[in-house]
Symmetry: none
Subunit: 200 residues, 4 copies
């Protein structure tokens, strides 16, 4: 059924199928054949829309990060104060979209293989840098310089660490809980420094 404009549709189908497959079979067993089957297409078609399997996996990771970015930007749009902005970033990380077991599983699996792929590790680093920059931008207005840097790094690490535990199933899959925990980290730092304006 040769229709035009299938590209974005098929690509999304296949990326979703890749996420599902990684969740269901594991990255090592997420074969092209299985992903294609889950997407309801033939194995061969994958190479029409992606250069190769790595390109599909890379695109999958990128899609995850793009979704996260969109979510964050949206939330930042309505935030007014620096604190609200920091919360917005945290909330985006644990939003409904990001929080499905499939997404979290895929996220960890792809992180786990990022070291071996230049493309993959590059976008992961870009994401990490951007998260850090965003957090730092607002925390600087709320904390002394060095404390802001530390808080930004800690917040980012905390988000990743909570995700990691979620992916392993050793944490309850409750977004609000994780949001609260991360906010608490920020709150405590803010409170600590506002109670003691001289810094640390």
């Amino acid at each position: 059924m040769p229709k035009v404009g299938m590209q974005p549709i098929r690509r999304k189908q296949l990326i979703d199928a890749a996420i599902q497959s990684i969740h269901e079979f594991g990255l090592a067993n997420a074969t092209v054949a299985r992903i294609a089957k889950k997407a309801g297409v033939s194995p061969g078609i994958v190479h029409h829309y992606f250069e190769d399997k790595n390109d599909l996996l890379f695109s999958t990771m990128r899609a995850l990060l793009v979704d996260l970015r969109i979510d964050a930007v949206t939330r930042l749009g309505t935030a007014r104060t620096p604190t609200e902005r920091v919360y917005a970033i945290i909330d985006a990380s644990f939003s409904e979209t990001q929080f499905s077991p499939e997404v979290i599983t895929a996220w960890l699996a792809l992180y786990g293989s990022a070291r071996r792929s230049d493309r993959l590790s590059r976008i992961v680093r870009i994401y990490a840098r951007r998260l850090h920059a965003n957090l730092l931008h607002d925390l600087r207005k709320l904390l002394p310089a060095d404390a802001a840097v530390r808080a930004a790094e800690g917040t980012a690490a905390l988000i990743d660490g909570l995700y990691l535990r979620l992916a392993l199933g050793s944490a309850r899959p409750d977004p609000d809980h994780h949001r609260a925990l991360t906010r608490d980290y920020v709150d405590t730092h803010l409170a600590f420094h506002s109670a003691d304006p001289s810094g640390r």
Copy 2:
């Protein structure tokens, strides 16, 4: 040349070779043949000392966690106050042994595949639970109940998150920096609650 008592030696050789191979080739390319070669033995021998490849990987992960455990127990032995004990646990996580690039890479790779292996995910959860319990045990003495729970969970997540960033290469490989950051998380919570004894 049949020697007796080779078992522990060979197993350690192979586990070390597995860690090195995962670091060098990635988990997906850490084949039995490559691991054996790095260990200086023949591919066939692996199945004399391990049930199969999964067993080798599981044993590798277990070895990593056992090392961590030993480190922590040693440090806890000399700690006196609850705060010292919490610091000991943190320090163990970022000790020299745990901090080699090879170990960190292997750690993330195996975490990333834990979901697909019952044995693997079991020991990972046991480790997570134990870490949480240890932290909680001492934090309870320093913080209100709910704050202690939150701090324990946050500390554990922070450690994992920092490891994750290390494995990805988006954090500088400086143990002291990570220790300080994690201690800071604890310190801030302790300060916050001692400054406000009414709890939160």
Copy 3:
């Protein structure tokens, strides 16, 4: 955009593209998609103008042989003496048209696969037989019967052998040189027998 009378145009386009593709990518990598792309058409269209890929390749070979035939017939038209006619045949084999690298490459590649295709091997044999018959026809007038047969076979083999070496790149791509060499073969035989009219 349905046009009429496209058949001969498209067929020639595709045959030329096939020759180019064999030269550029090798027969094994001259895929339908690549040939179509080089012809500036879609892959699907190939099966409108040719039964299948083999039919395209067969038609390509036939086109090469037809060109050669036309060339030979033209030259034979102006030849007067038997010797001139033999020269005409030789000259046709090394004429400008036949001598492009693309044509020579395709020629060898298709020869190399002729054994596996009935159609292909049939036209190749027809060409061989015709070449032999043409040569023999005139050589008979110049040489004793058995010498004529031998000379005809030798001349044909020499032409093919020179082509082969051209295709492999181990001979310089100079038509005149090859014409001279082949004429020399004939000349020597003629001289030998005219010097010794008793036959051999």
Copy 4:
């Protein structure tokens, strides 16, 4: 059955199977699986003994040329006069070993694909150059310089051309016939020049 010293045995087995397979199925259909089956081994083993399929095909071609070389060297050992030496080279090309249909088919198929492989085209050119050098060495003693060069080139081309026609099945598979035809080419040149010592 892990025996030592299997390498040369298996390699020969596989090379022979490759020749047979090319003959039976054609180069394009001589798959690794088919070659392995014909050799009575599993498909996977091929990559134990050859880098990849191309390496097997290259080694096959090399084996053909080595056999030819050995044959020629042996015959040259007993040749005394330059003429005998030229005959020896011709005879080697059409010896029993070289004359099996399988060998001839493989020869043409591999020649036909040589242009696309650096390794393949290299050894083919080396063989061509050596053949030419050998012929020239002795013809120089029998003919004027330029005639010797021409005769050497012609003889080599004639041999290849006869092979080509054999591979296509458009010549009768009679070694003696081809030897005679090639010797005749040489003889005629020698006679021509000895009858006319002034050269041409």
